[in-house]
């Protein structure tokens, strides 16, 4: 089951890089985070594991809600035009994921499929940040990469210490809050969340 959920998570990451509308992208991310939470429940074999799974499921609900509030506060007249079409972006994400599958050596987990999916998610997250101009999509790229890290962490034998898991989630919450503040400020300054307009600093 965990292999299937890891594949679903990777497929949903492709969704984030392909879709145009911000609400749809947040929905896709919520589904991905939910898949991660279910996978954590499936793998949990001790009390701390269930606590981590519960927190991940909570994140799957709370984070999309926060992001939805953000897009309500930063309305866009129309979606930001992407420099590359959805098929081109999907092809780029597919290439990145393929590279992860081919090039990732064994990481010690003993589950190559999960290892490949986790590394591919981190790389696709980075690809989303690079390929998408709207500030919200760049933020979603960070969360996709973070979900990839959580996938690897919950799949570790016995799970990663819940102290580390909680710390990482707290840091993610902190970063997303600061990023949301930036998104609001940039939107109020530019009238849009298009980061292409933030290109004044050059040498």
């Amino acid at each position: 089951m965990s292999s299937a959920l890891a594949t679903v998570m990777l497929g949903l990451a492709f969704g984030v890089i392909a879709v145009r509308r911000r609400t749809v992208a947040i929905g896709v991310l919520a589904a991905q985070s939910l898949a991660l939470g279910i996978l954590a429940v499936d793998l949990a074999n001790a009390r701390s594991g269930y606590v981590v799974a519960a927190v991940l499921l909570g994140k799957a609900v709370a984070l999309p809600m926060l992001l939805y509030v953000l897009i309500r506060r930063t309305p866009e007249a129309r979606p930001v035009t992407a420099p590359a079409g959805p098929m081109m972006r999907l092809a780029a994400a597919g290439t990145v994921a393929l590279c992860a599958v081919v090039l990732t050596p064994p990481l010690g987990l003993g589950a190559p499929h999960t290892e490949h999916a986790a590394v591919a998610l981190v790389l696709v997250g980075i690809a989303i940040v690079i390929a998408r101009r709207p500030i919200l999509f760049q933020l979603l790229g960070l969360v996709v990469a973070e979900n990839g890290l959580s996938l690897l962490a919950v799949s570790a034998p016995g799970g990663l210490s819940y102290v580390i898991e909680f710390g990482a989630l707290f840091d993610l919450a902190l970063i997303v809050t600061v990023a949301a503040a930036f998104a609001q400020r940039i939107h109020s300054d530019l009238g849009t969340g298009d980061t292409e307009l933030l290109r004044g600093l050059r040498d």
Binding site: G108, L152, L160, A179
Partner: protein
Amino acid sequence: MTSFVPLLAAVVPALPLAGMVLALLVRTQRQSDALAVVTAFVTAVAGLVLAGIALARGGEPALRGQWYLIDGASGVLLAVIVVVGLCSALLSPTYLRTSGRSWTTAARSRSLYYAALFMFWGALLAVPIAGNLAAVWLIVEATTAASALLVAFSGRRDALEAGWKYLLLTTLGLSVAFLGIIVLAIGQANAGHHNVQALDWYALQATAHSMPAQPTLIAFVLLLAGLATKIGWAPVHNWLPDAHSEAPAPISALLSAALLPSVLLIAWRVKEILQPSVGAGTTRAVFIAFGLTSMIVAIPFLWRSLPFKRLLAYSSLEHMGIIALGIGFGTPLAIAGVVLHVAGHALAKALGFYATLPLLRIQPNAATHAPVAVLNDSPATATAMGVSLIALSGLPPSPLFLSELLILLGGLAAGDLLISAIAVVAMALGFLGLLHALMEGVIGDEARRRRRRRSREEQPIIALTAILGTGMLACGVVGVLLLPGSDFVATLARGVL
């Protein structure tokens, strides 16, 4: 005194965090400034006591507890973070007087500024004393959140761009580093070590010999590549010149003088713990490669007529490269140079950034253009800039002249003749670039100089020039007389644990 260490290790980072909470509660600008001064002095006293204890132990084994590790390197970094943090906090009211409102009302802006400053300072103070790799990663991530807000504090479009770029790139970099930590944790779990203590520096060092080579090598590469983003090593330094140039001057000083070397200490510790499994040749090569690349990439920018803060940012790139090179050489002479370089660079760079406060008042277009003959307008500001540039360029009697010499001699002692030769050329070219900035931007044309009365607003920079300049000279003397051949350096050369 060592019995107080556990308490001090908890109190030192906690004091600024308490200041952060109080900063959000106070109502007037006057109360905010007073709180900042009190918090800064109390933190500085506690921090210097802890740094003093660590440094006074010389070559004795590190002090460690469940969550802390205090060795000689911790002592040096703590002292640097305390001094630069204190100066930045004391200079902040001067900056805020002229900054006006930023993201919100002026009074609220001031509270938010101090809250973010103290959160940033508290997290920075925790970095060199954290005894666990995962914990230190979490703390570094927290520094990103606080300092990104500070970088964009002015609310100008360029500052927003710099802050957003900094937040995005360093978070992605730290995600890559976290991937490395998870790979290490999986290795520890496979060996039966499941709890968070499995990622203590000492636990990792104890099990490094038995770790499988390939996953450990992957973890090392991921950790170094991720941390390099935060350190600002080339080629992953893109955020550095933007963030340093757009942040308020007191924050730029903390970013350059304290944050970069603190994260570099983590990279150094990672090198030490994983070296037995990865191999000394590989770890040395990675550090030397990052070092030389950073030094070479910085040169063309040091030769250009850039705004002063941007020039200082590229100088940070060069100096982080020099420190990486010294750690890569790893000989006692090179490590003595590294210790002296961290301290000397911090004082010189902080003074340079502080000098931009009066500079932007007398030459407002210096925010976007290279300064021109500052000596004509303000001898005090020109002196501060000159002292900073002379020190950073490595002109005698700068402590950086001595530290660079020690690092190069260390390289020769390690048998790295070609690398040392390339480093000499890179240092010389960097020196010429900064010398040009000194001649054109600071000294200028003597015939056009005019006499003017000293302004009251120049008093802070005069005092800081005297204090930090004396500190640099003291560093140089102490560095040459005490460091080479000392037990302190010999212990660090054996490993920063």
